[in-house]
Structure formats: C-alpha cells, structure tokens
C-alpha cells in the first residue's frame, strides 16, 4: 500500500530537520551579514568624524605655533627698539655733558673773551653788511661792547669797507645759553646765530657717525660706507 507508519514518521522527521537546518543556516547568514554591516557602518562613522576632528585640532595646534612665532618676533622687535632708544639717550647725554663743559664764560674768562671776539668777527664776515645789530646775553653786555671797536677795526682791515655795529639794549639772549652772540642785518631780516650752542649743534651733528663709532664700536652689520 504505501509507506508504513514508521516511514511516514521518519519522513516527517526528515522534513522537520530540513526545515530546522534551513532556518539555522538562514539565521547564521543573517548574523554574519549583521556583523559585517555593523563593522562597515561603525568604521564609516568613525573615520568620517575622525577626519573632522583631526582637521580641527591640527588647525588649532598650528595656531599655537603661529602665536609663538609672532611673540618671538615681537620680543625681538621690542628688544631692538629698547637698545636703539638706549643708544640715543647715551648720545643725548653725551651732548649735554659737552654743553656743560662749554659753560666756562665765568670760569675761564680769557678764553671766553678770545672766543667771543672771534665769534663777532666771524659773524661780520658772514653777513658782509654795512649795518649790523648784535644781540648778546645780558651778562655779556659790557664785555661785548668793549670788543666791538676791535672787531670793526679787523673788519675794515680785511674787507676794506665801513661798518656800523649797534648793540641791542632791549633784547638779550637767554641766560641759559653758555655764550656767544646773534647778529642781525637788514632790519633784522637776516640773522646769524653764532652762539656756542649753535656751534655745538652743527659740529655734533656733522660728527655723529664718528661719535657713534667711537662710543659704541664699529657696526658689523653695516655694508655701505660711502
């Protein structure tokens, strides 16, 4: 007739086993796929974010480096400026020291008289004008007055022209000056400033390169000397 009961049972068992086996295989497949997709998704997300984070922090770290360089440069600049300023102050102090030593009008009278008379005659030679007004310090008024006749004599001898000199009685040079005179011609339109200060200014200014080199030594960074 057909299959025995045992056969049927056996066949049904086989079919059930088959179903179970297939299901198990399918589950394995699903789980393997799950793991694979898990890893792919996870590493995709991680690397995506990592790139952004790395970029961000690299930029910030570069900023720090930059700031350090900027600071270094600023410090070097500030230092250079301080040193230059100190040099400048030294030179100013030097000039002032000289100026104080030039204040000998009361200490070394005879030397001052010679200088004053030379300044007067030099002023006259510079102006070459027939009418001159001389302005001096109030303290020097008497002295200058005594020196004028001799100056006129020397001038006439050299230039062979007459000259008229007036000594300003109303306006005087500042007491702070160390000495010398100012000469005016043509109604005060032309002025010659022949004070000791004026001489110091000109001489000091012209000698600045030599002054710098003597006081501070040769500059090894300098390339051109002409």
């Amino acid at each position: 007739m057909g299959l025995s009961e045992a056969d049927v049972t056996k066949q049904i068992q086989q079919m059930i086993s088959f179903i179970q086996q297939e299901a198990a295989e399918k589950v394995e497949e699903i789980e393997a796929k799950a793991e694979e997709e898990f890893n792919i998704e996870k590493s995709r997300l991680v690397s995506q974010q990592r790139i952004k984070i790395i970029e961000y922090y690299d930029k910030k770290e570069k900023q720090i480096e930059l700031q350090q360089k900027v600071q270094h440069s600023n410090l070097a600049n500030a230092s250079r400026l301080s040193i230059l300023k100190a040099r400048d102050e030294c030179i100013e102090a030097f000039k002032e020291e000289i100026r104080k030593k030039l204040d000998f009008s009361k200490v070394d009278r005879s030397k001052y008289i010679i200088i004053l008379s030379n300044l007067i005659i030099q002023g006259l030679y510079t102006l070459m004008e027939p009418i001159i007004t001389i302005r001096c310090r109030q303290d020097d008024y008497g002295l200058v007055q005594r020196l004028i006749p001799d100056a006129i004599r020397r001038y006439k001898q050299t230039v062979k022209k007459d000259i008229e000199i007036h000594l300003d009685q109303k306006n005087f040079l500042s007491e702070k000056l160390t000495g010398g005179i100012e000469l005016y011609a043509m109604n005060d339109k032309i002025k010659v400033s022949n004070t000791i200060e004026a001489r110091l200014d000109i001489i000091f200014h012209q000698m600045l390169p030599e002054i710098r080199e003597t006081l501070f030594g040769t500059n090894h960074n300098r390339k051109y000397y002409d």
Partner: protein, 116 residues
C-alpha cells in the same frame, strides 16, 4: 490521524523556523543601530585624547611665553648695560676733541667775496 499530526508538526516546525529567522533579523537591525552608538563612543574617546593633547600644548606655550619674555628682557638689559659701559669708557677723548673744535674758531671771509 497520523497525517494530521505529521502536518501539524510540520507546520509548527515551519512556524518556529520563521520565528527564529524573524528574531535574527531583529537582532541584525539592532546590531546596526548599535554601530552608531559604539561609533559615537569611540569618537568621543578620540576627541578627548586630541583635546588633552591640545591643552597640553597650550599650557606649554603659556609657560614658554613668560619664560621667553623674561629671557628677552634680561638679554636686552644686559646689552644696554654693556652699551652704557662702552660709552663711559670711550667718551673722554672724544669729549675733549669736540670741545676743542667748538672753541677753535677761524674767522674767514667768504671764498667768493671780492675784496678791493
């Protein structure tokens, strides 16, 4: 009788199979969702590390900054002091020379002046 039992057994087995497959699928979806959380966790950790590294550098730089300023100032002061001592050493002769130059006046007429 046997048949119906066999069929119902088969059906039961089939149903069970579907269930476990369905469960596996659910687990798979959950696993994929987990990926997001785990990724987030890893990223947080990485970010923390970089942040720590960055902060470290920042601290270092702060420290350097004060040190650099101090060193620079000290160096500058040293150079200025050296400058001043050079000045003191070298000035005397030059001072005398300039004073002599200022006081040494040679009045002369202008080179182009026509004197009868």
């Amino acid at each position: 009788m046997l048949q119906s039992r066999g069929v119902s057994d088969l059906l039961a087995a089939e149903k069970k199979a579907q269930e476990i497959i369905e469960e596996a699928r659910k687990r798979k979806n959950k696993r994929i969702k987990d990926a997001q959380n785990e990724a987030k966790h890893e990223i947080e950790q990485f970010k923390g590390e970089r942040e720590r590294r960055y902060k470290g550098l920042e601290q270092q730089q702060m420290g350097n900054r004060t040190q650099m300023t101090e060193e620079s100032n000290k160096e500058t002061q040293t150079q200025i002091a050296a400058l001043k001592s050079q000045y003191d050493t070298n000035k005397q002769d030059l001072l005398q020379r300039i004073i002599t130059l200022v006081c040494d006046i040679k009045p002369e007429t202008h080179i182009n002046a026509r004197l009868e």
